[in-house]
């Protein structure tokens, strides 16, 4: 019998491709439908964040942090502002802390909703995407009545906030919680426990815990691999120690710990926990002034700090070096998506092309954050 000649197929996926979530380019080596090798090429959205920080004053950097991970601007700002506050030794008023917690958790819900919707889209189910955007609009409206912007807020300032919350904010948030809570069950019925969806995602792209830690995975991806670790609990910043909430980790429910389905499911469960935090915080916002601690000139002493917070995508760290002037000497952003994407080649080899799309979607990357 003559030998069958086989050839590897080299395919460029992206930078324009419906499921690369932006301008990511994947260089695939395929054997039929099986993925032999994946090489991510990034930098198509490199917007020179770090060079900009060196030319701007400290508060001017905040809008640029917004534009890094544009799906969770609030959390980006928080991490940066938190670092500066620690460096300058500013005590933030209690009211500010509460509002920040509420905003960050709302932002987490909004970000996870996009993750959910686009993930459904990757799987070929278009409807969850539209449902999740209906819910996301409600969150955006809350942001909009507070600071006027839908996407990029410039809301957290060093020592305070740009605006106080409006009078009807609390009642609106409560109304949102009431509307949104039953929808989570709807998403579970529509997508999470759909037989086809489970078949597509369970047991694909398994990331073992030791690899996850060694490769620097953080956030939902680390928790889906089975480690109960969340900066909000394990290295509590702000006032998270006051709230009672769980950290969702992967359980042996469907598939294997560390697979795509669990990465997706951890996010759904996190939304429930975020709602719990908001419920606890929203009634206890103390009276006070949100801008009393805002310094006129932000001029930290010579020094450096690595501040990190738990954003929806994982651990976002800013390494800020101050030389005592008005401009930062160096700001390095350690973005969660950047590290999480670097795991992709490790977990997608040997899967099919359709699985690769699902694995990439389960990492929930944002290219603005990767390329900065």
């Amino acid at each position: 019998m003559p030998e069958v000649r086989t050839e590897e197929m080299l395919i460029n996926m992206g930078p324009q491709h419906p499921s690369t979530h932006g301008v990511l380019r994947l260089f695939l080596t395929l054997e039929g439908e099986i993925v032999k090798d994946v090489r991510p090429y990034i930098g198509y959205l490199h917007r020179c964040f770090e060079k900009h920080t060196e030319a701007m004053t400290y508060p001017q950097v905040i809008p640029y942090t917004d534009r890094m991970d544009y799906l969770n601007s609030m959390s980006n700002e928080w991490s940066y502002v938190l670092g500066l506050e620690k460096l300058m030794g500013i005590e933030v008023p209690e009211r500010v802390e509460y509002i920040r917690v509420v905003m960050a958790e709302l932002q987490r819900i909004a970000s996870h909703l996009v993750a959910l919707g686009t993930y459904g889209n990757d799987a070929g189910a278009f409807t969850p995407f539209l449902y999740s955007f209906i819910d996301r609009e409600k969150v955006l409206e809350l942001f909009e009545i507070t600071c006027g912007a839908r996407l990029l807020y410039n809301y957290f300032w060093v020592g305070g906030l740009s605006h106080d919350i409006p009078a009807n904010f609390q009642s609106k948030v409560k109304a949102f919680i009431k509307e949104f809570e039953p929808n989570i069950k709807m998403y579970n019925d529509l997508l999470s426990y759909n037989k086809i969806f489970i078949e597509r995602t369970a047991n694909t792209g398994i990331l073992p815990l030791d690899v996850a830690i060694n490769a620097g995975a953080t956030g939902p991806i680390l928790r889906a691999s089975g480690l109960k670790y969340d900066l909000r609990k394990d290295e509590p910043y702000s006032i998270y120690h006051k709230f009672d909430f769980e950290i969702p980790v992967a359980e042996q429910e469907v598939g294997t710990v560390g697979d795509s389905w669990n990465r997706y499911m951890v996010r759904i469960k996190e939304m429930v926990q975020s709602l719990r935090i908001i419920e606890q915080a929203i009634d206890n916002i103390p009276e006070g002034d949100v801008s009393s601690a805002v310094p006129k000139r932000v001029k930290p002493p010579v020094g450096e700090i690595y501040s990190r917070t738990e954003t929806p995508k994982g651990e976002l760290g800013y390494y800020i070096i101050s030389d005592g002037s008005l401009n930062p000497y160096r700001v390095k952003a350690r973005s969660p998506s950047f590290v999480n994407l670097s795991i992709l080649p490790k977990i997608s080899k040997g899967h099919m092309m359709a699985d690769l799309v699902m694995i990439l979607g389960s990492l929930d990357i944002v290219l603005g954050c990767i390329d900065r």
């Binding site: 070929g124 189910a125 759909n194």
Partner: protein, 350 residues
């Protein structure tokens, strides 16, 4: 008297034209409105409005889409195999349309009542896969090649359960002619083959098996028309747009057209085999409703109902993976249809 036009005019060229034109017109109007229907139904399912600017409530949207597509430049990529590239949409469209020849719209109207009608239908619709194959191949695009390979493996595999699920009806009716099959189901909703066909004993015994066959036939025709959850041929999140990635303008519209025409064709086949085709569900209780002209309404509305189910499924379910698609076909559908076939065959012989 299979065709009132034939009986009126006899067999001549005018008859053939007169028989073909209404079918073409129907398919054209159907395809246009199925696209619009799909957009409207999906909008309705997703809390949206859907197209509403062109005409009242957007009723002319797809016509205007077509008018726009006529104006588009037709790009043929420099590396594409030009003749085959241009031929492919025509093959796909023709194959989809030729199936309509044997679809009975009424007891007095059918394009051609072949005594091998069902066989002809399966044979001719699978020609479409050749069109898809050469479309994907000649585009000289890796994504469309993937689409082509996927479409061939998918459609060829699903031919088997489609045929196997249709055979029980053929055995019970004793004919491959579409009109005969429908005539066998006369006498109201309970005599339809989905409920086991005419005859009290056969209903009791055959109902579960015929129902399974009907469901399997519906599922595998979904796969043959590349509808979700089996739309891996044009899965946008994986291979962008599959075989028609390089087609623009009217050539692309022809693929679109063919897909929607085929949706109705397979729906009509399912309704002919299992839902009594043009038979009124009330049988002889209300003789007026079995009037040959009302029968058009029954045939079309049963088809549309099944098309609606196809659209409904598309906007609800995620899609399967290639290997899972094959697993469903070879490990589930084919064994189940074989068992079905055996039992129904046993019954038919006895």
């Amino acid at each position: 008297m299979d065709n009132f036009i034939t009986s009126l005019l006899g067999e001549n060229i005018l008859t053939f034209v007169l028989v073909t034109v209404p079918v073409i017109a129907f398919v054209a109007v159907f395809a246009l409105y199925a696209v619009l229907g799909e957009r409207k139904i999906s909008a309705w399912m997703q809390n949206r409005v859907g197209p509403n600017r062109v005409g009242k409530g957007g009723v002319l949207q797809t016509i205007i889409d077509g008018l726009k597509l006529i104006q588009k430049e037709f790009v043929s990529p420099i590396r594409a195999d030009k003749y085959i590239f241009n031929l492919a949409p025509i093959i796909v469209f023709t194959a989809a349309f030729m199936g309509f020849a044997v679809i009975p719209f009424s007891s007095i109207f059918i394009g051609a009542d072949l005594n091998l009608g069902l066989f002809y239908f399966f044979a001719i619709t699978s020609l479409g896969v050749i069109g898809l194959m050469i479309a994907g191949w000649s585009s000289n695009n890796k994504y469309s090649l993937y689409g082509a390979v996927r479409s061939v493996s998918q459609i060829v595999s699903y031919e088997i359960p489609t045929a196997l699920a249709a055979i029980p009806v053929v055995m019970l009716a004793g004919s491959l002619s579409m009109q005969t099959i429908i005539h066998e189901q006369a006498g109201g909703i309970l005599n339809w083959y989905i409920f086991g066909g005419p005859g009290a004993i056969s209903k009791l015994i055959l109902f579960p098996f015929m129902l399974t066959s009907a469901v399997i036939l519906f599922i595998s025709t979904l796969a043959e028309t590349n509808r979700t959850p089996f739309d891996i041929v044009e899965a946008d999140s994986e291979i962008v747009a599959g075989v028609h990635i390089e087609y623009s303008g009217m050539k692309f519209a022809m693929f679109f057209f063919a897909e929607y025409a085929q949706m109705f064709a397979v729906a009509a086949i399912v309704s002919t085999l299992f839902l009594g085709g043009w038979q009124s569900p009330f049988g002889d209780l209300i003789p007026f409703l079995n009037n040959p002209w009302i029968q058009f309404g029954w045939a079309i509305s049963k088809g549309l109902l099944l098309v609606f189910v196809q659209i409904w499924l598309r906007w609800t379910l995620p899609r399967l993976r290639v290997d899972q698609l094959m697993t469903v076909c070879w490990k589930f559908l084919i064994p189940i249809t074989l068992i079905d076939l055996f039992i129904i065959g046993l019954y038919a012989v006895l």
